[in-house]
Structure formats: structure tokens, C-alpha cells
Symmetry: C2
Amino acid sequence: MKNCLIAQSGGPTVAINASLSGVIRGAMASDQIDRIYGGRNGIQGILEERLLLLNPIFENHEENLVKLEHTPAMYLGSCRYKMKDYKEDSTDYDKLCALFEKYEIGFFFYIGGNDSMDTVAKLSVYTREQGLDVKVIGIPKTIDNDLTMIDHTPGFGSAAKFISTAMLEMAHDTYIYNIDTVLIVEIMGRNAGWLTAAASLARNEYSEAPHLIYLPEVAFDKEAFVAKLRELLKKKHHILVAVSEGIKDADGNYLSAQGGKVDQFGHVMLSGTGEVLKGIVQEEIGCKVRSVELNVLQRAAAHMASAADIAESIRLGENGVRLANEGRTGVMSTLIRVSDEPYEVRYDEGDIAQIANQEKKIPREWITQDGSDVTEEMERYLRPLIQGEHLASYENGMPQFLFAPEE
Amino acid sequence: MKNCLIAQSGGPTVAINASLSGVIRGAMASDQIDRIYGGRNGIQGILEERLLLLNPIFENHEENLVKLEHTPAMYLGSCRYKMKDYKEDSTDYDKLCALFEKYEIGFFFYIGGNDSMDTVAKLSVYTREQGLDVKVIGIPKTIDNDLTMIDHTPGFGSAAKFISTAMLEMAHDTYIYNIDTVLIVEIMGRNAGWLTAAASLARNEYSEAPHLIYLPEVAFDKEAFVAKLRELLKKKHHILVAVSEGIKDADGNYLSAQGGKVDQFGHVMLSGTGEVLKGIVQEEIGCKVRSVELNVLQRAAAHMASAADIAESIRLGENGVRLANEGRTGVMSTLIRVSDEPYEVRYDEGDIAQIANQEKKIPREWITQDGSDVTEEMERYLRPLIQGEHLASYENGMPQFLFAPEE
């Protein structure tokens, strides 16, 4: 029997704690794992030996695991820390290996996105080279859905559910006045447009919102946007636009860099992409226009979590423990879609070297020819990911989340 | 038997359709009311004779009433239309009276805020003076909670529940990194700080967020704000600030007017209040800082509706029908709080002349001496209003709302 160590890294989602719960569930059920340590603030906190013993909190406390699965962001805290190449500087690696020996760690699970998988890749090679018997496993997460080797990423489905629900609610909000109105909704996604594409799920039999969708995968053409808006406004009063924060023009420049605002001290300030489009509508169309940034709620709105997403996130954690127990190292727990209808996935593993630092973008054929919408294939891909509502329990009007004990 | 007419006006909330449902339920149960007409786009649409017969949609269709109670914004549409004083120009009034006669309207229910109550006041006097037997009743709504003669307004509790939940979720999102961070959350409220005060409900045994609360009722002191932040950052890494969009400095100038940004064409642009505070933190403190505007979701997030709010909104609609049937006119349906614990209200009426164009602000004694927080009395007042979750039914991952048939 050896002990295991789990940590979380990168930007938050509402499903990362579900993956943590999955790893804990898997570790508690494993006859190869004894103590379960959590590393605070990712690899950075581990290097500072800031560990938290998780057994007393979760063993025989199913209610805490359930609460954890409802809690947004990272129970163990996070970091943004890029490990150097050990060939240049192995200080951090040696420190980690010493800690692994001190705490008798045989299994290390790192829950994170592209950057974190880079850490997993380097560490798995180093421990192997050092002859240290530590299984290093990556557990995926990112609202951006841009990891390769996995059908979709944990956290994405819940963000998609929040975005599509917010879009429909904002459509109702926009439709009430009988005057021409453009609402621009800026959605996260610097290089990949998956989250923005998810706004399309808001469409139903009475509402076509969002009427236009702009993604970073296709160059943004201002003239075409204005022409499209003019055409749409001839037929209807209300146009909702979903736009990725990361759209660029044909020269590859971010739209957000073109707001060109100057503050009172003369500093040039980057404007939001939504604000830039709003400015275009004001200049070129002149109708009522508002821009809304969904902002951090996209990745924090646990109250809108997708049941499908949370269930899969737990399973991906458990699958990671299975992989480790079967002797794998340097791999990421993955899921492969078996079919769309009925929706079915199977759990697998992916070679970490092919995942680290890679980015999965939307296939061009899932975006319409003119680049202002997504196709039906996109909806077929997205729809299963927002199924079911994962509702927290409430006390005194507020959702009940779990918070780690103070150090 | 006479017919009734219902319309909705002003800005949206998630509870206005619940009040509409309450009026419809009351009207269907009344032996004085035959046909139930809805006026589209408030008084403006009524003047254009754009009426929708509601009986076929809702009679024997309880499922549609329930769906309506879950639907945000206005099922009948809204308007921003200020009736002139009839002593100056009675054209609109005469047109309305003619329509009332044509459609045999004996009861008119107008669901709205301060401005709409002004319409109710004028119209009730005019119909009386003309000897027309039409009972004109106001049904309150506004997320701002700034109507007088009523303990709190329908729609406010749901907005408060969304704001406090979002605040707690954003706190979890902020706590993950081990570095000094200030998160500024800009909340609606131009003149009254009720919504911003509701952020205080996010506090629990492990989280003090929001650490600072700034309201329009107290002049904002930049130096005191910076000093307070410096002091707090000595003790903790993460400070969350809730701020009303409408805060002003000691000279009465809106903070939002002081961003002084200039766009690329040289136009001065009004900045959000949150962005202005963010700029102050950047200049004076220099730590990581982000500002988030909750924006339209505050009034549109039906998925976070408070069950207490929706139930009361329905009752206020039904109570309006009762008042009309008892012969009242020129009154607003109100609720009076009988006790905090156990929370109890009774339904009553308020003289519309004392409500129209009035604004209820936060009592000074519910704000701390230094103006950076609210007191316990505030929490006692607010807490009952966010109790219970009013969950829509979902199909295919999306909430099911009701949409009015096309004209």
C-alpha cells in the first residue's frame, strides 16, 4: 500500500471538484492506496509542502463528497506555475521526488488543462528516469473544451448550460420592447469558440437567438457583420449576437485591441470585444444596442451545472485511479463518444505527450460558410453535454458548498 | 359581468409574469369578470388596440399558468411611455376610455414600477371624473425595491437571490489563487442600494465576501476606500467589493461619469462604476484586480428565482383582483410584513397617489457608520426574501418558458 496525492491547477470550472471527488472515491475503493493527500494551490503549494490529509474529511462522509461535487472552482486551490524543463533546471523535480518519498506517494493525480498536462508529462518522464515508482496521471478539466484526445472536457458542459440558459433568458429580456435592439453577448474563448457556439443551444420553437455567432476560428469581417445586421433588422426588431472574446480580423489582430480607448491619464486601454462590436453598431446602425460580458459566472455558476457534465467528471476521476492502479503513468483519463443518440461514452486513456500544450479548435465544417453561425452537426455534438440539472442543496436560501479547512 | 384588461410596463424582472398569472387566476375565479384581455407592450400597445384574449390560453390550462410563472421578463411585452397630464392633453385618456367602452372593460390591472403607478394614478382619476365605471388597479414590480407603501417589491427577492448566489460562487472563484486579488462586482441600482445590499446574504461561516459594500445612499470617499482596502489586504489575500452602479462622490457626481475614457474618435465615454473602482485599485494598490458587471442577468435569471418572491408575486396579482371586485380604484396591491421570524406578510392596498413617482431608499441606520457595509437589521430584512428555489421544468437541457403567440 502506498499513499496518493491529488492537486488542482489552472483556471476554475464548476466540475473540477467533481473530478476531485471521483479521484477520492476511486482512491478510497482501491486496495493499493492508503492515505489520500491533497496538495494546496497545485504544484506550487506541493513544493511548499502544503498538504492536507483528506481521509478524515471524506471517509465515511458521503455528505461531504456530495457537497464537494456541487462546489465551484477548486477545493484545494490552484496555481499558475509552469515547470521548467528538468534538463535545464531539475530543482523543482528533485524537491517533488523527495516529497513523494517522504510521504510515500505512489500515485499523483493532477487535475488541470493544457498547461497542467505539460506538468504531468514532464513529471512522469522524470520520475521514471529516476527509477521512482510513482504513477503520474492527468485528469482533464477546462471550460474551453480545447483539449485533444478527449471528446469534450469536464466543466465545458456546465458552462455551456449556463451560457445557453442565460442567452434564452436575455432573449426574453430583449424581446419586451417594440423597438430595434441589438444585444451583444461576449463569451469566453481566446482561441477556440466552443463556449460561444454553445449559445446556439438557446434556440427553440419561438426564439432564434442568438441570431449571429462569431468565433475565433473564422476571421471577423466588419462590413459583412454590418450588412448582415441591416438585413436582419428589416425582418425583426431584436437581434442577439454571441461573440467570442478572441475574434480577430483578417490580419489576425484581436478586435478587443481595436477599441483604442484612452483613459483620463492618456493610457490606452483594451476594450472588451463586445464593447467594440457595440461601438460598430452605434456608428453604423444607430439603433439601441447593449453589450453584456458573461464574465466569471461562465466558469463559476455551479447553480447551473449540467448533471451529465458532473457525472462524467466524477467518472473521469475514478477512471484515473483505475489507470494508475493498472500501472499506467504519463497518461490522461479521457472519454470517447460512442454515439450521439442515445448518447453514450466510454472511458479510456490518452498519451499525455499528445495532449500537453495542444489546442483543439472547432472544425471549419461545423461553422457556416459565411462564418456567422454554426451548423447542425455542432448542435448534435453539444446537446448531450447540457442534459440534466445538478442541483445543490440550499439552506436559508443559499446553496451549500464545501470549503477546505484553514491551514 | 364585465371584462378585464391586464398590461405590463417598465423594466423586466423574473416575477412580473407571476403577478400576471396571479391576476389571471384571480380573474378566472371572479364572478364579476368575463373575458380577460392582455394589452401588448403596455399602455402604448393598448392605445394601438393591440389586445390578446387570454382565456383560451390559460383557462383549463394550468400547465401554461405554471410555465408563465417561471418565465422571465414580460409575456405581454413592455413599454416606456409616460402619459401626459390630462389637463394639458387628454387625447390618450379619451382613446383609452373609448377602448374600455368598446371592449366592455370594467377592470384594468397595470403591472409596473414607479412610472407605471403614475399612469394608474392619472387614469383612475380621469375615468372617475368621466363617470366611467372602470376599476384601475396597480400591481407592483421592480427589482430595485424602491416603491413606497410596500414592504418589498416583487422581483426584488429573486434578483437578490441571484446576486447573493453569484457573489458566493465568484468568491469561490477568487479564493483559488494564493495572491492578493480584488474583485469588484457592479450591481444595479441608480439611486437605491437595495440590490447591492443583498450581496451581503452571500456571507457564511467560511466566507466574508463581500468584504466591502458601497451604496448610492452614502457619498463615496475614494481615500477611505483605498485606506480600507490596504488595511484588509494586510489580513487577507482576497477582497470582494459589491458596488451600486449609482454611487456618487461628496459633490453628488456619479463615479461612472468620472472614468473619462475617450474612444478612438475622441468621444468621451461613460465608464461603468466597477471599471472606475478597478482603475483606482490599479493606480493606488497595484494588485490583481477585476471588475464584473452582473448586468441584465440580475433581472432575467429566472433559473435562480426565489420561491418566496414568486409566491408573493402571484398573491399580489390575486389581491389586486380582490381589491377591484370590492370596488376599489386608484390603489396598488401591497404587502405588509407582520413579522421577520417566523416570516409573515399580509396583503393590503396602498393609495396610488402616495406611491407614484416616489422612491424608497435604504434607511441610513441600516448602513454602517463609515458607509462601507450594511448592518444586521438589513440582513434580517433581506433573508426571508430569498427563501426557496422556484425551479422551472427542463426539456432537453433547457428551461421551459412561455412565449406569447405572434400578432
